[in-house]
């Protein structure tokens, strides 16, 4: 994003001549700007020192000619924000002098942009990201197929969006995989005329074994009996493609005070294997007693579920298999200090039924959408084939297919028909080729011939807010040329955001905006946090995250993306990013944070009280864990995150030869706690201090939040070891809690004076300051990120004034999020009419 003291953005090899300047702007430069730089800047950014690798003794007035816009924009920004000259400088220029310089730069920038200097060359044609690709196929054929696993992963870069042309490259391996996927898609989408064989399976569990605790039809929170319903139902026979239906008769046995038990069904490889790949089938919240069992029905596509390949046993090929497993995901924070299953909620499964493919209507609707019913099919097969191709390609290309395009695909059809014999088979192959055409794989770009700007705009809007192709309504509007009307655009923007597909946008945008993915791979120190990650059946050993069960970490990602979605839904003001009156929680997460009164695993807005010490993004577990070490908070990671994700700064990477601040990933407990000393190291060297003086104070107020995202103002003494729960030593969990109190005795200091701001005490102080003094900065950052994501390119100094205009508009709506998105979609920049 916008840079401050960024090595990357400031061309340090840029030596401009110091010649006489003759223009008017040059005259003012010599009179106002150059002396200012000489007096206030060159001491640190000149021939002697090049702090931040920035030099200013050698700039010239070339701005007028549109040279090095990025460099000038950065200078303008650090002057405007007051970041430079540094506040600790004794001789600081007065506001009027700074104002004169910034005015000269801004005037020059505006002129340069108007003249089109350093013109924009970002290409608009870029392939769909894997995320967009899978969504587009879903909307094209009418059901979701898991396809991205088979594609090379898209590049990721912290705090960057990957939907730009420079990231979305294409090579033969990618096209190979597209081809495999395309054939797989068409095999699923087009069926053969004759009804296929239906595979079924059923398993029942009876209430045996109640004399020994739980019946075989019961699933407990911790551990289960062998051969109980928790083992689920194995499948040895299923079709290779098609829709399945799974029915379950289930109920719950609930202890007093518990309202329901969350059931989840998964299907995939057997859980005793080494890989344990599974996919969720569906969830339900059971509040009915075994006297009133409910029959639940789940549907899905069988192709999406991992299977275990049958092995060869004594020369006999065993069949492939899958397992359907019911899970009880109840978690109210109670730890397992013995087998107390009977005091916790239990789920009763009477039976599970499986059936696939579903053939009530044959051929299924998704098939008839492509090979539609028509008398033409018999009377004029060629016209029918052409019409099938035209309809499918027009949807796949997100604009009407041209006559030439239909001709080519018809040629392919005729080429393959003799060998493939049936229309279904030949059409599968033909339409698979549509799905590897550039018109499908690349974003829609107006070309003035077969694609006009309206179709480009319809696609831009739907890929922005849905991560997928436009629907019928958008396509019709584009066909009528209606999308230039700001009222229509506003109405469409709101419609798309109200659709469930917008959750895909929010998730994808938020994950990249805040660089969230890393929180899943931070190795949590299990000595310090023995209870955080694991699912343990019986007994008290440390465990690891199981790939087949959601953990608190997964819920935390849902918390953050769901929170942002809720802010948009509520059209909340941008200050909510920093602090909010609600949190987005489910029961397990609420228990983790110590918020009571939340039941069930679905997420909802929970009103907050000040003692919860939550609200906004800064205190969410996903951010605190992702920017910690797994053992301890990490003030520098958190400071970098705050400046990059929230304030919109571009924080330069540390020099490569600096040893990492803490070597604590998986390290011993005592080592992990000496961050303060390590921080002090930074202040010893001048080269470190320059950057860290501006960085570290932002991270200190986070110190009351530990490495697993909990408020914890006390830490163990230097060098103290923390042992995990041990039944012999601690007796029970209360005993363990008492033990922890004797260890966590030292109060953490979370007071810091933030750069160009007051001293803030802890998170509450930091939030208050940000809300009050940095709201506009935060709004600008969010607007720039949304805009950049929507356009699929990085913003440049040329966009500066367009952004300014949008910001002014947004300010009139108090920077409310939904309104901000509408403003972006109505802007000339988004519509592609800028400068036209």
């Amino acid at each position: 994003m916008r840079g401050i003291v960024s090595v990357r953005n400031l061309g340090f090899g840029l030596l401009l001549w110091l010649g006489a300047t003759t223009t008017l702007a040059g005259e003012e430069f010599d009179r106002v700007v150059a002396p200012f730089f000489k007096a206030h800047c060159v001491k640190c950014h000149g021939p002697e020192k090049q702090k931040g690798k920035v030099t200013l003794h050698n700039v010239d007035s070339g701005l007028a000619a549109g040279k090095s816009l990025e460099r000038w924009e950065l200078i303008l920004e650090v002057l405007e924000s007051g970041e430079m000259p540094p506040e600790e400088e004794a001789e600081r220029p007065d506001a009027a002098k700074v104002g004169a310089v910034t005015k000269w730069i801004e005037t020059g920038l505006r002129k340069a942009v108007a003249q089109g200097g350093e013109t924009l060359v970002a290409p608009q044609a870029r392939r769909l990201t894997n995320f967009e690709y899978e969504n587009t196929i879903r909307d094209l054929i009418g059901f979701r197929l898991k396809l991205t696993d088979n594609l090379p992963k898209d590049p990721e870069k912290p705090y960057h969006f990957n939907n730009t042309a420079e990231f979305m490259l294409l090579g033969p391996e990618q096209v190979d995989r597209y081809l495999e996927n395309a054939r797989k898609v068409m095999t699923s989408a087009i069926v053969d005329p004759e009804k296929p064989e239906v595979h079924t399976a059923r398993r029942e569990w009876l209430r045996h074994g109640l004399n020994r605790g739980m019946g075989l039809d019961e699933i407990g929170v911790w551990g289960n009996r062998r051969h109980s319903a928790s083992g689920g139902m194995g499948l040895k026979s299923f079709p290779s493609t098609g829709e399945f239906v799974i029915r379950v008769q289930a109920s719950a046995i609930l202890p007093p005070g518990v309202k329901g038990a969350p059931l989840r069904l998964i299907m995939g490889q057997t859980l005793s294997g080494s890989t344990q790949r599974v996919e969720p089938v569906g969830s339900a919240y059971l509040d009915n007693s075994p006297d009133e069992p409910r029959v639940l029905e789940f549907r899905g596509r069988i192709e999406n579920y991992p299977l275990t390949r049958g092995r060869m046993i004594r020369g006999n090929q065993q069949p492939d298999s899958r397992v359907i497993t019911p899970q009880l995901l109840y978690d109210d924070g109670t730890l397992n200090d013995g087998n107390r299953n009977l005091t916790m909620p239990r789920i009763v499964i009477n039976w599970i039924e499986f059936e696939a493919p579903v053939v009530d209507v044959w051929p299924p609707a998704h098939h008839r959408r492509i090979l539609f019913d028509s008398p033409l099919r018999e009377s004029d097969p060629q016209a029918y084939v052409r019409e099938v191709i035209r309809r499918f390609a027009s949807r796949a290309f997100r604009r009407s297919a041209s006559e030439a395009e239909v001709n080519r695909f018809e040629q392919i059809y005729r080429l393959v028909l003799p060998e493939l014999k049936t229309m279904e088979s030949a059409m599968r192959e033909t339409l698979a080729m549509v799905l590897i055409s550039p018109q499908f794989l690349y974003h829609t770009v107006a070309d003035g011939e077969v694609t006009n700007r309206q179709y480009e705009l319809a696609s831009r809007l739907s890929y922005f807010l849905w991560g997928s192709m436009p629907d019928k309504e958008l396509m019709e509007l584009a066909g009528q040329g209606g999308l230039d009307d700001p009222k229509v655009m506003e109405q469409q923007t709101r419609r798309l955001l109200a659709d469930a597909r917008s959750q895909d946008f929010v998730r994808n945008f938020t994950m990249q905006w805040m660089s969230l993915a890393k929180m899943k791979t931070v190795p949590i120190n299990q000595q310090l946090f023995p209870r955080f990650l694991y699912y343990v059946s019986v007994g008290e050993r440390r465990g690891t995250e199981q790939p087949y069960r959601p953990t608190i970490r997964d819920y935390m990602l849902e918390e953050t993306t769901g929170f942002v979605g809720e802010l948009i839904r509520r059209n909340a003001g941008v200050a909510n990013v920093v602090d909010s009156e609600f949190a987005w929680l489910n029961q397990p997460l609420a228990a983790h944070y110590g918020v009571s009164g939340v039941e069930g695993n679905h997420f909802r807005a929970v009103p907050l009280k000040s003692e919860h010490r939550l609200g906004g993004l800064l205190t969410q577990g996903s951010i605190l864990i992702g920017n910690g070490t797994g053992s301890a908070p990490h003030p520098i990671y958190r400071a970098v995150w705050l400046r990059e994700a929230i304030l919109g700064d571009d924080v330069a990477d540390p020099p490569a030869d600096v040893p990492a601040l803490s070597d604590s990933a998986g390290g011993s407990a005592e080592k992990a706690l000496t961050i303060k000393d390590l921080l002090a190291k930074h202040r010893q060297k001048e080269s470190c201090r320059d950057c860290h003086a501006r960085l570290d104070p932002w991270g200190i107020p986070f110190e009351h939040y530990n490495a697993i995202g909990k408020y914890q103002p006390l830490v163990p003494k230097e060098g103290a070891r923390v042992s995990g729960f041990n039944l012999q030593t601690h007796g029970d969990l209360a005993g363990y809690a008492d033990y922890l109190k004797t260890i966590y005795t030292e109060r953490v200091d979370a007071t810091a004076r933030v750069p160009r701001g007051p001293e803030v005490n802890g998170m509450a102080g930091l939030k208050a300051f940000l809300k009050k003094d940095r709201r506009d900065e935060i709004a600008e950052n969010l607007l720039r990120r949304l805009l950049s994501y929507s356009l699929g390119r990085d913003l440049t100094p040329r966009d500066r004034f367009a952004v300014d205009a949008m910001l002014q508009e947004s300010a009139t709506h108090e920077h409310r999020l939904l309104d901000m998105i509408v403003t972006i979609c109505q802007s000339p920049l988004f519509k592609g009419t800028e400068g036209k």
Binding site: F167, E173, R177, L415, A656, G666
Partner: protein, 451 residues
């Protein structure tokens, strides 16, 4: 679904997987054994989480102290090799191996220890000038000489796929933004390499390929017309697509030509394609065996093998040290906690597997020597243990003795003697007849490696 016969064939043939076919196929070139000279081969292999280098900053042994018997470096001082407990598996191969200390890719510095594994085979400056990775050393060689074998190169790993930015699971890249997915399932690799027709007759295979070529032609046509309608900047993006289709076309053409050559006879004795991660030794050796067989049958001459990725927490590799040594913790923990007992043993275990492969090559006679004489084998990681510093990689080079490389020494490039690791890459490429003068940030060849 009723599988059409040709469908399967073509699937098998076209499936890119890790087997990348290089361009261009020179017309009129006779295929198998196209030259009288013996093949020149190269393997690039990688292990993760660094290696144990106690007694000294940044993994450079302290000259004041005696050498640690478990250090990954076989000896303390530069010069003729002597072996310690960690490196002793290579003692029988002394004349065929060299150690290089103090080398690294400047492009990896700012990536941090783990992520610098991404650029091990490319040297790309991913943080600075390039946003994505660039072409890897094996693909440069494959582009030059890959047309002489059925497969231009072979890209293997233990976890499969490409991984993502900073967490690569492949060493090989065709170019910027074009990682080549690695293959990691022994049976699948074996089938693709040695049974590419999936049991179908050659005529059937050819007919399928012919139709494939016609379809790709038609796709090319209409993509060209799309390209011509676009603006200048956008044309470049569509050109990427056209190049990809063109290379698929060439692959079809190439596969078709190779149907005229008999498939190699494979001696599968001792090959366990069912090997699983639960038995790391069996599995890793199986992967090495597949490379060996591909080389021995001249099915390909260039391979990469990511023995471990830098982000294995989701895979069984995470448990390897537990399975192998009974270590109570993740394999990655060894790099941080550096337990004296396990660190060295873990390195030694890896050395044993690598030495097994080298020994197999050495034990196979070829012309006036053995296969190792004509195979350049790089083995290393993108950081020493300490802090995952992206400086001073553990680097081990073997073989190629009859390709102009010399061995038997530890070379040291500390302080002002420092040169880029890419210099070694230049010399490796030159050894397999790729006459490049530079690679990534190289400043010249690695004269120390040359006979």
């Amino acid at each position: 679904m009723k599988t059409k016969s040709w469908y399967l064939n073509r699937r098998e043939l076209l499936k890119g997987g890790g087997i990348a076919l290089a361009l261009p196929l020179l017309n009129g070139m006779s295929l198998a054994a196209s030259s009288k000279t013996h093949p020149k081969r190269m393997l690039v292999s990688y292990f993760s989480y660094g290696a144990y280098m106690p007694n000294g900053q940044h993994g450079i042994p302290n000259p004041e102290k005696p050498h640690n018997e478990w250090s990954w470096w076989p000896c303390r001082d530069a010069g003729p090799l002597t072996f310690n407990k960690s490196s002793v598996p290579f003692e029988p191969l002394k004349e065929y191996v060299s150690y290089y200390r103090g080398l690294d890719h400047a492009g990896g510095w700012a990536l941090g220890g783990h992520s610098s594994g991404d650029v091990f085979a490319t040297g790309a400056d991913m943080v600075g000038t390039q946003k994505t990775n660039s072409i890897s050393i094996d693909q440069i060689a494959a582009n030059a000489h890959g047309h002489q074998t059925r497969f231009a190169s072979m890209v293997l790993g233990t976890e499969g796929g490409t991984g993502s930015y900073g967490r690569s699971k492949t060493l090989s890249h065709r170019g910027p933004g074009r990682p080549i997915p690695s293959m990691h399932k022994p049976q699948e690799i074996f089938n693709r390499l040695f049974k590419p027709y999936a049991g179908k007759g050659v005529e059937q295979v050819r007919a399928g390929l012919k139709r494939e070529a016609s379809i790709l032609d038609l796709l090319m046509d209409q993509s060209r017309s799309l390209k011509n309608r676009l603006g200048h900047e956008d044309q470049g993006k569509v050109e990427e697509y056209l190049e990809s289709i063109r290379s698929l076309e060439q692959r079809v053409e190439r596969t078709s030509k190779w149907t005229h050559e008999p498939l190699p006879e494979i001696d599968t004795k001792g090959l366990n394609l069912e090997a699983s991660h639960k038995d790391p030794k069996e599995y890793i050796r199986c992967m090495y065996d597949l490379v060996y067989l591909a080389f021995q049958t001249d099915t390909t001459r260039f391979a990469s093998l990511m023995l471990e990725s830098e982000n294995s927490s989701q895979s069984e590799l995470w448990n390897y040290a537990t399975y192998v040594l009974g270590y109570k913790g993740a394999t990655h923990d060894i790099a941080h906690k550096r337990p004296a007992d396990y660190s060295g043993q873990w390195d030694r275990w890896r050395s044993e597997q690598h030495a097994y492969f080298l020994q197999r090559l050495k034990d196979t006679p070829e012309a006036d020597g053995n296969m190792l004489d004509r195979t350049v084998v790089l083995w290393g990681s993108a950081h020493p243990h300490a802090s995952h510093s992206p400086k001073n990689y553990p680097i081990h080079l073997a073989g190629g003795n009859k390709l102009g490389l010399k061995h038997g020494h530890l070379h040291s490039f500390e302080g002002d003697k420092k040169v880029p690791l890419a210099n070694l890459f230049v010399s490796m490429l030159n050894a397999v007849d790729v006459p490049v003068k530079s690679f990534a940030d190289s400043t010249g060849p690695m004269t120390e490696a040359l006979a």
